[in-house]
Subunit: 336 residues, 2 copies
Amino acid sequence: MVKMSDVAEKANVSKATVSRVLRNPETVKKTTRDKVLAIIEQLNYQPNILARHFRRSETNTILVVIPNILNTVFSHILGGIEHEAGKHGYRVLLANTNRQVEKEYEFLDHLKQRQVDGMILLSARMDKSVLYDVMKQYPVVLTADYLEGIPIPTVTIDNVSSGRTATEHLIKLGHSRIAHITGPLHLLVSQDRLKGYRQALLQNDLDVDNILIQEGDFTHESGYNQMTKLLALEHPPTAVFSANDEMATGIIKAAKDHGLSVPEDLAVVGFDNVKLSAIYDPGITTIAQPMFEMGNKAMEILLHQINGDDSCKKQYVLQNELVIRESCGAKRKNNS
Amino acid sequence: MVKMSDVAEKANVSKATVSRVLRNPETVKKTTRDKVLAIIEQLNYQPNILARHFRRSETNTILVVIPNILNTVFSHILGGIEHEAGKHGYRVLLANTNRQVEKEYEFLDHLKQRQVDGMILLSARMDKSVLYDVMKQYPVVLTADYLEGIPIPTVTIDNVSSGRTATEHLIKLGHSRIAHITGPLHLLVSQDRLKGYRQALLQNDLDVDNILIQEGDFTHESGYNQMTKLLALEHPPTAVFSANDEMATGIIKAAKDHGLSVPEDLAVVGFDNVKLSAIYDPGITTIAQPMFEMGNKAMEILLHQINGDDSCKKQYVLQNELVIRESCGAKRKNNS
DNA sequence: CTGAAAGCGCTAACAT
DNA sequence: ATGTTAGCGCTTTCAG
């Protein structure tokens, strides 16, 4: 393996100059710089990045902690992170927790050992005080998920207002018996969407009937099962707000299997606007999270922190948007 | 930052002993080991992994090159890689190429600079000879994609036979006018699925009508568009084999928009068995790729290579499976 | 603008 | 079983 001293020797300069050519080319006279560059080319020299990382105790790598790679919401966010990271010469290390808290703690060591320059969390189940300590010492950003009570930099949408928007949309379409199938209620995201649902009902003088609120777990299957329950009710709902798009597909399937048509007999609104909601038939009306932008923004903030600018350590709330498709009945299908 | 020498000093041993406690505990007497461990705990010592990487020129990190994170086939494979890597203390660095060949070349440098111990490619668009050279010097495994002519370790399914299975299934159901919407034909995967389709027709004494073969790009939209074309034909097909599941959804949508029912008027078989195919209504009959296992196996082979065992440098062909759902008409829907 | 020299923290021969 | 020692290849003061 050819090393810096080989280049230096062959170019009749010192190692220091070679190093400068690589990292601060403008501080080297053009003629020497060109000479060194030529030799580097000629010897096909590749700097030993590990030595560099060691010496500088920086890795140009950031860690992304993901609860579940298979969830496309996270892949979209990851895409945004990746994009912004790439632009600034940073690499992305993936940390899949499979929703296990212990894994989150484990990955913290990467930060502490300076194996990565910063961390983006797409899920924060760990103890708040632990996270708070970490966040004071190292660059950390939270996105998709969020926490109450500690001032950790966060990029999200307003899930309460989004939940309200989704529900109000159904109310405006004339529904008064509206169910909500929530996400796992230990997640703040799910709680907030539920909160928004409640607010919308109350503000429109509609009763909140707890029997119409069922907890799901974001899977198609849970949407199917909970909807099947709701349809067995004496007074089943005429509309459902689903806390994500995948559950919405389960809800629609359950309705069909029960002999109902969507949206004629049951209106459905989902959440996220993942590709599935556009592909599915009927197209699912949904709240769009700006997933790519969330990833982008999170990375941007992280980079600021890495560069010592802590002024960006705040909460960022991005805009959501109601995307109207067929499942809610607001828009007629082309062929009907 | 507390370092190894601090621990050594406080424990009245040499740095070497501390290092041994960390990396080869069994070579240290239990009493000294416990003493050192206690001090490590007490001082909250975290080894400087960067120094270790430098010194050992190993990083316990592997690189996964992905053409597109949003494609769930790749996320599933990634899941398998991640799982196997985690078991052996390896970390996974993500490299998204967005299907740009230049990016592939770029990421090669990570290997050459020893920033990663090995590489798994989920797409190999780069020049074969370049890849061949790399593969001779560094641990590399190819999966999902594959190449002809160079002996690079590969984990895939037999796409020709899979294409044949899918098509034969439609033939057995009595169809004789079967279309095929392919993936991008510059991919060997797509070419092979097409080859299987052709073989099935020929072996069953059916004509191959080129008008029934249309090239798609794996998106829902391309499935929709190509199917719309096929439906405008004087003799439209009664069945379609789609080179992936997402296009199958587009095909079904096009059929519906044309007033046809699936599977009654048009039978559809997809490919991959991603979650979408199970969620979609009607459920899509498809060829299941063992995605998780492919990732697992690829990682396993890579680890062997990293550990200097090159006997595993061969091609591995995993089993595919036909999953029958509603879209082909072999199984009646519950409610019909 | 360039060179000399020190040393980052760890590992692994080699010696005891 | 443990200690001694010599770097790994780079970056970065500090001098010149």
